[in-house]
């Protein structure tokens, strides 16, 4: 079956695109991806999504968005896209089980947590190293742990983790924090938080025991190394866009973000991008949702504008 619209990703961008294209009777297919629901699934109370004056839990907000898109006829399927071909019409989207064909594609694959890139970090992921404080903080009740990063999410995670841990050391490679003043103040006022600025992590021990026992730190200015005992390391050093599928097919910037123009258009007509996969500036739930709406409307206009003879050819090809 040739689809009008396939949406890859099920965060605020993907589900808003689904809502709008469903209401336009385009019967969108949403392929969720492994990190279904997106980054909000890893958050607790979201206080800046308009319309929820007392805040709403991130996972609840995503459950609502999903239900709303389904109510208007969006097909949402589990699965992870393994390859995409946008070099010829119709576009092809492949998962482990199925190959789909579509006239338009909306990319809402978002961004995933960036890692430090240490071998020990990789080995100990899930065994004391984590990128999700709300998921894993519970297991560090009474422990001493570290948070890596200097942005808002690092401050937020550190403060959240003091609910469980006795001591949280924030490790940041620069002197200045990138976090907003309000978040910095919250973290600085917390007596359970210790600071190691101008400091990088060289190694996480102990890979031999398959558990975290300490981190080896290095002062960026002096090069002096020391080791502090921690049982957990929470990495909050930002995100990296999920664009590996599109390498060589769609225009990207130096950091791998998809480049969009005139709204949500990518370098290939009929392929649109929304949310964090094309946004390294705003990165909010509400801006992702807004850009999902833009992609939906752009896809709708594109479908209306495809000349009748081309539509027929496309449909005939798909049946062969």
């Amino acid at each position: 079956m040739l689809r009008d619209v396939i949406i890859i990703g099920s965060g605020p961008a993907g589900l808003t695109a689904a809502l709008y294209t469903a209401r336009a009777n385009l019967r969108p297919l949403v392929i969720e991806g492994i990190e279904a629901g997106g980054q909000l699934m890893l958050t607790t109370l979201v206080e800046n999504f308009p319309g929820h004056r007392d805040g709403i839990m991130g996972p609840d907000l995503m459950t609502e968005m999903r239900a709303q898109a389904e109510k208007f006829g969006a097909d949402i399927v589990q699965g992870n896209v393994t390859s995409v071909d946008v070099c010829s019409q119709p576009f092809t989207v492949t998962t482990a089980d199925v190959t789909y064909q579509t006239k338009t594609l909306i990319i809402a694959t978002g961004a995933s947590a960036r890692l430090l890139g240490l071998a020990s970090e990789r080995t100990l992921m899930g065994h004391g190293v984590s990128t999700c404080a709300t998921c894993d903080g519970y297991f560090f009740r009474g422990h001493e742990i570290a948070v890596v990063g200097g942005g808002d999410s690092a401050m937020e995670e550190a403060v959240f983790l003091t609910k469980f841990a006795n001591k949280v050391t924030i490790v940041h490679r620069r002197e200045a924090l990138r976090a907003s003043k309000i978040m910095q103040d919250k973290a600085r006022a917390n007596s359970k938080i210790a600071w190691r600025l101008n400091t990088e992590i060289d190694e996480i021990r102990d890979t031999g025991k398959n558990e975290v026992s300490s981190i080896v730190l290095r002062d960026v200015a002096t090069g002096v190394r020391d080791e502090i005992p921690v049982t957990g390391v929470f990495v909050a050093i930002g995100h990296t866009p999920n664009t590996a599928l599109f390498r060589g097919q769609l225009e990207m910037d130096a950091n791998g973000y998809l480049v969009t123009h005139d709204g949500s258009k990518t370098s290939v007509p009929g392929v649109f991008a929304s949310g964090d996969v094309q946004d390294h500036i705003y990165r909010q739930a509400i801006t992702a949702a807004g850009s999902g709406c833009m992609a939906a409307i752009d896809a709708e206009h594109y479908l209306e504008g495809v000349p009748e003879h081309l539509q027929t050819t496309v449909a005939a090809d798909a049946k062969r």
């Binding site: 492994i34 990190e35 279904a36 629901g37 909000l40 699934m41 890893l42 958050t43 991130g58 996972p59 995503m62 589990q78 699965g79 992870n80 482990a96 089980d97 992921m125 899930g126 065994h127 004391g128 984590s130 999700c132 709300t134 998921c135 894993d136 519970y138 297991f139 560090f140 558990e211 975290v212 957990g232």
Partner: protein, 109 residues
Amino acid sequence: MATENVQTFTDSNFEETVMKAGQPVLVDFWAEWCGPCKRLAPTVDALATDYAGKVTIGKLNVDENPNTAFKFQIRGIPALLLFKGGQVVESVVGLAPKDELKKVIDKHV
């Protein structure tokens, strides 16, 4: 959408239903407050159907059963541990696609 194939493991039944089980057992360590756990749940349900009769599959709530979670040094959820003959033979922490999990399970059935 828990199916009848998905068991519920607890601190009190773990020894009997998992450690002493005759066939491999896949245990999904999860909690109510864990968003990714909820997202993994349908995959675990599907695996339970696919492996019915070959692998026992069930869930353990870490909030209600802290002893078992502590015993197996769970530091992150969702965590899937595969037990065979009372030993942990595989562990997958975090979200993973169904076909990847099948490959891990298939090594032991």
